[in-house]
């Protein structure tokens, strides 16, 4: 069946990309000056033992590579240098649920608000809602999310004292970081939905629907929406990536104990195994998300579902 062929092709592509990243991180580890993996080895005993166990440092290069690939495949991301009692996996299992909550909430908020805003802007083109929506959109795209975050903190936490500025302990704590993270994607989705909807509304089949005497509500909801949302689904993958990378900075600013915070700390302290492991983990998540989005796209558009050439 053609659908299976398409899935296979995508899976292979995914694996290729993961392999490239794995190789890239492996090469990096060997190449960075002052890294503990080459000849310098200027770390203490305990760490050294961990490293040797994980990376098989006495074996020839190619064997090391294979061991590394194997450990990635089995989701074992290695030890930490700066915190020898912890492995990367420990950090991930602590941080991931928090980051996931933050990221998912932001994503869902951005998607729903963005689509709704975009639809209303398209229907009332050049009206008040359109102007407001597009202004928000332009601001969301132009103002980087970390700056947005500081602005929000400044306004809502410091000056008006409505929302707490940091950590992650109650739902109230979630508001500001999620908002900061969601603004950019919301803006992009709103703009895209708007222009896509406007274009769809000029299509012939919408004219046919009008000639059939359907109400505007029905035309938008039943005929226009599905078609207009296609481009939005397409960029969902990229948006997830930007939310993911955006979370690094947001978590740092708001002192949220998620994966991103550990990642940023590891960058600053040059804890290379953590950097590598986390990078590979992030990439895998992203690639899975991209894959899911691709599948969703295939389901939504019947032309692709039935006729994709494998």
């Amino acid at each position: 069946m053609k659908m299976a062929g398409y899935i296979m092709k995508r899976l292979l592509s995914m694996l290729a990309t993961i392999l490239v990243i794995t190789t890239l991180t492996f090469v990096m580890m060997k190449v960075i000056p002052g890294s503990p993996f080459n000849e310098e080895r200027n770390t203490n005993e305990a760490v050294q033992r961990n490293l040797e166990a994980y990376y098989q440092l006495d074996e020839p290069l190619f064997v090391q590579y294979l061991y590394y690939v194997k450990s990635i495949v089995t989701f074992d991301f290695g030890p930490s240098i700066k915190q020898p009692s912890q492995s990367v996996n420990d950090l991930l299992s602590r941080g991931f649920p928090v980051s996931f909550e933050l990221g998912m909430t932001a994503l869902i908020m951005a998607v729903i608000s963005g689509i709704v805003l975009g639809i209303f802007a398209a229907l009332r083109q050049n009206g008040v809602i359109d102007y407001i929506a597009m202004t928000i959109a332009v601001l969301g795209i132009s103002v980087p999310n970390f700056i947005m975050a500081t602005l929000l903190i400044q306004q809502f936490a410091v000056n008006w004292n409505i929302f707490p500025p940091s950590t992650w302990t109650s739902p109230l704590h979630m508001v500001l970081p999620t908002a900061a993270l969601a603004m950019g994607p919301l803006a992009i989705i709103a703009r895209l939905t708007r222009s896509s909807m406007i274009e769809v509304l000029t299509q012939d089949y919408i004219r046919t629907a009008r000639a059939k005497g359907l109400s505007p509500f029905k035309i938008v909801m039943k005929h226009a929406l599905k078609n207009a949302l296609m481009p939005v689904v397409t960029i969902l993958g990229t948006l997830t990536a930007s939310i993911l990378t955006g979370s690094f900075v947001i978590e740092k600013i708001f002192a949220i104990p998620g994966m991103g915070k550990y990642f940023v700390e590891s960058i600053n302290s040059r804890d290379y195994p953590v950097i590598m492991g986390t990078t590979v983990f992030y990439s895998i998540i992203l690639i899975i998300m991209l894959f899911l989005v691709d599948m969703a796209y295939g389901i939504l558009d019947p032309r692709i579902k039935l006729h994709k050439k494998g």
Partner: protein
Amino acid sequence: MSLPVRTENEASSASDIPVEWFAPLKQKQDERESVARPSLSYWQNAWRILRKNKLAMAGLGVLIFLFIMAVLGPVLSPHSVTQQTLSEQNLPPSMEHWFGTDELGRDVFTRTWYGARISLFVGVMAALIDFAIGVIYGGISGYKGGKTDHVMMRVIEVLHGLPYLLVVILLMVMMGPGLGTIIVALTVTGWVGMARIVRGQVLKVKHDEHVLASKTFGAKTVRIIRRNLLPNMMGAIIVQMTLTVPSAIFAEAFLSFLGLGIQAPFASWGVMANDGLPVILSGHWWRLFFPAFFISLTMFAFNVVGDGLQDALDPKLRR
């Protein structure tokens, strides 16, 4: 003498028309084929549409202003970039220091425009390099077609799957911070977007009739690329470039926030914003405000101009 125009229902009141008017009229032959309105060239038309877009024009004005200030700003200011006057630490904006001073007594106004030079330089360089690599790669891939295209596209597919900022971060960790390394990191995977667009454009235009016409006239490949393909693609390419610059500036600021940016004493807007972040709770808002404002303003301007250009240069929307 002119008579009012009759509707088709006023039959007999046409009696006051002089009989002489019913004589046959001598017409000039060439008048028949005259076209009513003058037509504009592609670029003239695009400029006309762009000019009407007030937002895009405003953005263009902002960009021109920023570039001028980046050059002239440090010259205009009475202070120097690196001069540290410890007695004048952390002063809010005043007549002396228009944007205030930082914790080392340096003038923020002067530093802002120095930072402008760096940030804009990074942005424009990244866009230009992406353009160069992308056009070559995409052009070859699209024009050659067949197996070459297939292989080249597979490579792009894999590269596209890599999360852009993650790769940038990794490379920065690998290479160490610095202006040159940042530009390298940004462009190593950044050209993929441009290559795809160029390839798409080439594929679209390759079989256009005017290309075939040129071929039948015996034009060589280079001439075809120059005169037939390139002008048609320039629109999409320019739009892509105006959208690359803000994403490069954003990436640079992002890197600075993670501590991987440009090192002291040089400061881009990203570095200044990062330095300004911790002191915001102490009330020194100008440290963060000015670089953050200008980052946002620049990105806004480029985005708005890019949008306007997209509207103006899109052949489908030609009016």
